[in-house]
Symmetry: C2
Subunit: 295 residues, 2 copies
């Protein structure tokens, strides 16, 4: 697969497997940065029709087919199981030097499995764009989810340097602020804290017994923001949480320790201790925003 | 104090005590809706100068003074202790039929104390606009914090009907979506869940041992949103949390029960149970947004 920073996206064909919220956002973003040809595969024919009507994709297919042979790059925006199954069923259709990449939130040993299904000239570069939003489906897709986001690459030993460069270039063009590389183990450990845990807290907060119709007018920004991602894709996240069980249990435990520290300060009415706890939080939050140049 | 929906805000003088984030937002919002004269009192002379330079206030004072006698309405945007002290020290300066109101996040028996410091012709209508944002100080003030927000009135038996009407009218003009009345007890109970608890969770999340420089690139929208309010005014919130201790401890306990329910589902790998838990959260979050017509 050829790559030159200026010409690649204008001349190559990109295939998106799974045209939901994330896949649709790639399609919209890639269209915006001038991608030449975009095809999509999804079982949802209505989403494909809509995307084609929107001018976001050039062609849509409801199953793997010969059209895959046109794709220089395939971006898997499905869950991990569906990706593995799709690769297993369709490798024969793939272009001989195709570049595969994905967006899966948990890495585990997926790369090893995919690798074993490919020929030596094909390449799979596992990725995880730290971008998303509430809701699900193509209707919620937006090119803006990438703006200022962090794009994580989880490279394998076999990856061609040029492919890492292609992905890096794409991420930057889509508007991502940082592109960083880590091992699969680091990825899954960090993600349990920065992504899974906030989703767990948001859902646990709205699922509290305290939630009832009377409280709705008492909701302000803190509750809205703290529960935004509670509007969750339940089957997808069930799979993500279970796939990263040990790391997530560990992070729930560390969060609970932190919450208990606050609770003790409240119970004992330790005013200086509580102010210190809150000041540390404010400092950390400000540093985080400052360091990542994001919201 | 006179009130007519059309003329009041153009002809009367409004005094804002405490020109920080909330006070400054009132000043900006009231200026935008055409308030005639706005004065402010704050110990921070720089904030007063800035607000005057911005055209947001007409005059600023660093302490209570005769100028208070011009104000038809005084909006206290300080903490509760400072409000009580200010009223105690300055009642003699107040206009004889002044309308006082506040924004305190916890009500307790503040209204009774303020009432005892006023003459019979003065009136105090306790309020709590469910509006705010991260950070602190006049520099962070914005008229937009009221847009679509809920404005809570916690009326007392002694309140003049006409004053409730004035506050309601002001809230609507500022852009609030709903104005609702509750008892002080209801207020403090609900607020522990919808406001205090999300702040506690946000601060506990960034204060987890998991937080370190390496994780910053793994931060996406869920973590940013879930920790936005961790950038907290530490002394103010220490006071708010301690003033509502029993309600908050109760809500932390109910949240913990909800979190433990999720943790058990994860430990036992109860896939259908977890999907159900997440689906319930998604449904509740969507209903909440739908019902309150807000973000």
């Amino acid at each position: 697969m050829e790559d030159s920073d200026s010409g690649f996206f204008a001349t190559q064909t990109i295939g998106i497997i799974g045209l939901g919220l994330i896949g649709g956002s790639y399609a919209k973003g890639l269209r915006r940065i001038g991608a030449g040809r975009i095809i999509a595969i999804d079982t949802d024919a209505a989403a494909l029709r809509q995307a084609k009507a929107d001018g976001v994709i050039d062609e849509g297919y409801t199953a793997g087919c010969r059209a895959l042979g046109m794709a220089d790059m395939l971006i898997f925006c499905t869950d991990t199981h569906a990706m593995i199954q799709f690769v297993r069923d369709n490798t024969l259709f793939f272009k001989s030097d195709v570049l595969l990449t994905d967006v899966a939130g948990i890495k585990g040993d997926t790369a090893r499995i995919i690798r074993s299904l490919l020929t030596d000239t094909m390449d799979f570069v596992p990725c995880h764009p730290m971008a998303g939003r509430e809701g699900r489906g193509y209707g919620m897709a937006a090119a803006e989810i990438f703006y200022g986001a962090n794009y994580i690459i989880v490279p394998c030993r076999e990856n061609k340097k040029q492919h890492i460069h292609t992905i890096t270039s794409m991420a930057r063009k889509l508007g991502c602020a940082h592109v960083v590389s880590v091992t699969p183990e680091e990825h899954d450990r960090f993600i349990a804290y920065t992504s899974s845990l906030p989703h767990v807290l948001a859902t646990a907060l709205v699922n509290s017994e305290a939630m009832n119709p009377a409280v709705k007018f008492f909701v302000a920004g803190s509750f809205r923001d703290g529960t935004r991602v509670a509007d969750i894709n339940a089957p997808l996240w069930t799979q993500l949480f279970l796939a990263n069980k040990e790391n997530l249990l560990y992070e729930i435990d560390r969060f609970t320790t932190s919450l208990q520290e606050f609770t003790s300060l409240l119970e004992t009415e330790d005013r200086p201790g509580m102010t210190h706890f809150l000041q540390q939080a404010a400092k950390r939050r400000r540093e985080l925003v400052h360091e990542t140049n994001s919201r």
